[in-house]
Symmetry: D2
Subunit: 336 residues, 4 copies
């Protein structure tokens, strides 16, 4: 089978690294362009773990160069930077999977939470890349907005209960993420001494993933208000999201989940509590639910860098190019 | 001033160790009896960190022996074991602070969640040892039921909002504790490899601290249903509790907290997110709140072994014997 | 190409799990027998991370059954247990890779450090499975003794300096391992609270890997006395070994290493300090050396479960069956 | 008893914080000056854990102001900055305990490893503040050079063996420190993701504590060459140092240690392996030794911020002002 040439723009960060590792082993894609804002050196200079594994050169990211050889570009760039690349690449005929927030929200919500949008044209056509909800649209998309990590874990926990959630009651999401979710930046909140043996909430009820979750839930006919509080876990990797909802009827939450996801290969509904380590290293979203009175608690676990970013992006790429969605997607957790 | 002789029954565990360290430095109490179920050896054999620091002998716990020399006994024993000691000690005229759950609940709730109660007589007279709520009763008590760690952090977060919580709405408590809360037992869930780089909920909506919280809240005129989910943090020490409540009016949550606790020396209301490390090593409960629409989020941080057990017990002892409640109580956190 | 059927005996532990994951993705081997001492259930019952990934049945380990369908058996069993399985399997014509210590030492050293040997016949013919030293012998072996984790990291650090080590001077090895090296047993030394934020030596100058290292070094013409002290790191995975040696001449240690390993694909000589994270998840041994006066310091990093056990075992299997030794062997580290 | 007024210059770092906490509880010293390079705000702004505990104002550090009210100043400043403060304070009659390296080495060694010295006059008179070696000199000193953390742990492990170390053999020190030893700076090597689940050597055979150790050992008649390699542990606090030495005779290492330190209250010789957690939070140095053939291995554990810096500084202050050296010095470890 002919392999598809792809580019990764923004290879210096954690999601860039994960994309590289996934693509290196992918039977249908060939990574033939790796870019950063500066360019220069080899991938193993940026990521010393890849010494003697992947010694490809790093380019100064240039859409025209990418368009010469690649059919698809993954953008692992900061918000705002991504949209200018996406715009130009799309105009050059390159399909795009954007891992930033730039195409995830409605224009109104984007400009309220992130600032002015510079590519309104493509924003309208972007498909939100959560395969369980939008599989058919993704297959035909030129531009996929890869979901945020918190929204991925949260929406997959909530969506199955659409018809059971009591109208006008709040949905509470208490979320916890490993430090890799905050990237490589050297800030006080990522200094080892401040994170280790610690635990703290941040941006309570003000995080920009809250409107992303709410907006996608509306598309699933869930119009309840969403209240979201993230916390920083003293671990490198993984995310656990706790959701609390009020119900309009008695349900068997386990059955609701298993029915809803019965054909999904990257969702595992468990009858015991889910945990970071059972999903870290994979694209799985593990779900667990308990109901009591008219309340349901749902616990959702993903690898923030894989299901929450890079592996989900490659699943989307598989769908866009007509491959089986599980090709090249990791299923074996890092345990122990 | 004459010092009061006290006993610690159950010195081999973590809360026993913390009691020993607190009492060793206390100006008004003298630890002159340290017991375990077996007896034998010295405290520094059980706790090698105390080599050359405290070399007191360990007794086989015997109420009659304790009564000969002690006016007060701290019971750091498992549920069920505690009540038989408490009963005998009280009958011998020794005042008791029980760190187990044996005297915390109404008889009905106790027998529903823990099993048959063997000391119904004293159960009726036990005072729930949360100083901020029951200070005057504690001063006169013969038997103090020292609160659970989760209830301490949760109740202190919720109580100030009594008049503002909307009737008939659920209160959600998403709680996270360090591993020392589970004690020294060698179980799979405390094996390093299973805890490290991991995070998991346990006993969701079924934990026995849920009825303890609910019962105490009723005494504060809060009759809302309480839904409680604890999680295990990959840290040794500390506890962070997130509370989500619906309000019947607009409030300034920070002001509600500061007004409610304006005379309290072991509560700190912060205007930034609270964290484990700022309270670990102290008796402080740090609180932070954010409101949005008709929702309030409250974050509460304590040291699970100190404010959640041993230091709160010594505060209660201070109150019972007429000392200033802050004597000998640690205020300096372990940071960095 | 015809795939080779293989068995893993002892699939419940960490090295068993890693073998399963490696074999599941191996193009030339088919795992068609998974055994434990008790048998029963599925692999995903033992290892919940493999739910929906690998649902193979677990057998009660039985050499005769294995011999019916498998050409090779990996033994991930405790010392002593392994040799009785190995003996029977070999007699039935099944080739064996033993991950225990049972065939690593001379009879004399084995009986001195481990106790009576029950399979002296095969012990004589066993090949020590360190590919860099014994590649050609491994290819023809029926029985490979897979090296211990500490010996692997230590010997690979020392062997290149054979001709430069000063006669009659001691070689010091200060080694540090993650907790997974101690297995799943529930013991005080693996309780999270005892390991976390801690660091400690164990079996100083008395560990049974010391004679294993010394014996293999003799085969490399290094007869110096070896002094070995292991320590327990508060991490799940990884091993770093520091070696201190006195030299008989001035050398360029970096060049000595690069020359010695110039054709090796699973050794990386680095010009910066090596670390756990650059090898965790791979079969690489990363090496770094600094010389000063007549002293050389060598730092060696491996994944204790992969290069120190299961991945090295699969490399040995590749060699035994004539495959390229790197087939199916992981090269991408778990970073970040 | 009249209390002595003291200053801490450089209160924003970790050692500054520890000094504040120690002095706050000290019966004989009063902290009445807290300075930083900028000044402004309160101590609890710099260290939020001290909210409602210590709300003293922070001054812009000014020797003349200090001299008005303080008899002693602790300098918790970077190398180079310390000496200019020390010089001026000493000339104004204030005694000084300097926690930097500025007065620890001979002029020759200082200028070789740190650069030009600007206070050669006082350098000559500075006393190296290791109480076990220099107690009497410290009592009379105007200027105490507080030892480095690695030298403290290393020298205390080596000094007792002075007469038994074989001439002309190297001493190897393999040292491991928690991250707090590197301070608050935001650098890649202290980013949580780079430290967590990792372990790495740094400055192998090139660290500036190597000459400090060697120079002090010469004062103890140990002239052997010292080879020192530090490593970074994924913990916040604590230090473990492994020392390997060759002996000129058979010894009982445990007895050598216990005899040498029989009158010392902050040294504990243990008959089991020493560990970080047994000393973290205290001024103790715990020692353990094993001998084999003509080799001795010594393991030494200290809290890098307390015995390795601030608590040792307060012990020195006690000695300088004629107090019992253990007054106000913590003996209870943070365990669990």
């Amino acid at each position: 089978m002919k392999k598809i040439n792809v580019a990764v723009v923004g290879v210096s960060g954690y999601t860039g690294l994960e994309l590289i590792k996934l693509l290196r082993n992918h039977p249908n894609f060939t990574l033939n362009y790796a870019g950063t804002s500066e360019g220069g050196g080899k991938i193993s200079d940026l990521h010393p773990s890849l010494l003697n594994v992947m010694d490809m050169k790093v380019q100064k990211s240039e859409p025209k160069e990418i368009a010469k050889s690649c059919e698809l570009a993954f953008l692992a760039l900061p918000h705002k930077t991504a949209m200018s690349f996406a715009k130009e690449l799309l105009e050059l005929g390159v399909r795009v999977i954007d891992l930033s927030a730039d195409y995830r929200l409605s224009l109104e919500n984007y400009e309220k939470h992130y600032g002015v949008h510079l590519d309104k044209e493509h924003l309208k056509k972007a498909v939100y890349g959560l395969p369980e909800l939008n599989r058919e649209k993704i297959k035909k998309a030129s531009l996929v907005a890869n979901p945020g990590c918190y929204p991925t874990a949260s929406i997959l926990a909530i969506a199955p209960f659409a018809q059971y959630i009591k109208k006008n009651t709040p949905i509470f999401i208490d979320a916890k993420s490993g430090v890799s979710g905050a990237g490589k930046k050297l800030v006080e909140s990522s200094h080892f001494v401040n994170v280790n043996e610690n635990f703290i909430s941040y941006n309570a009820l003000k995080h920009r993933h809250e409107p992303e979750i709410a907006e996608v839930l509306v598309s699933q006919n869930i119009t309840n208000a969403v209240y979201f509080v993230p916390h920083l876990l003293p671990v490198t990797r993984g995310m656990l999201v706790s959701v609390y909802m009020q119900l309009n009827t008695k349900i068997d939450a386990f059955k609701v989940l298993t029915d809803f996801y019965k054909n999904e290969r990257f969702i595992r509904v468990r009858d015991k509590a889910v945990s970071l380590k059972l999903t870290a290293g994979t694209d799985f979203c593990d779900l667990f639910a308990v109901e009591k009175d008219d309340i349901v608690f749902v616990s959702s676990s993903i690898d923030n860098l894989l299901r929450g970013a890079s592996a989900q992006a490659v699943v989307n790429a598989n769908l866009m190019f007509g491959f089986d969605e599980s090709v090249g997607i990791p299923k074996e957790a890092y345990v122990p």
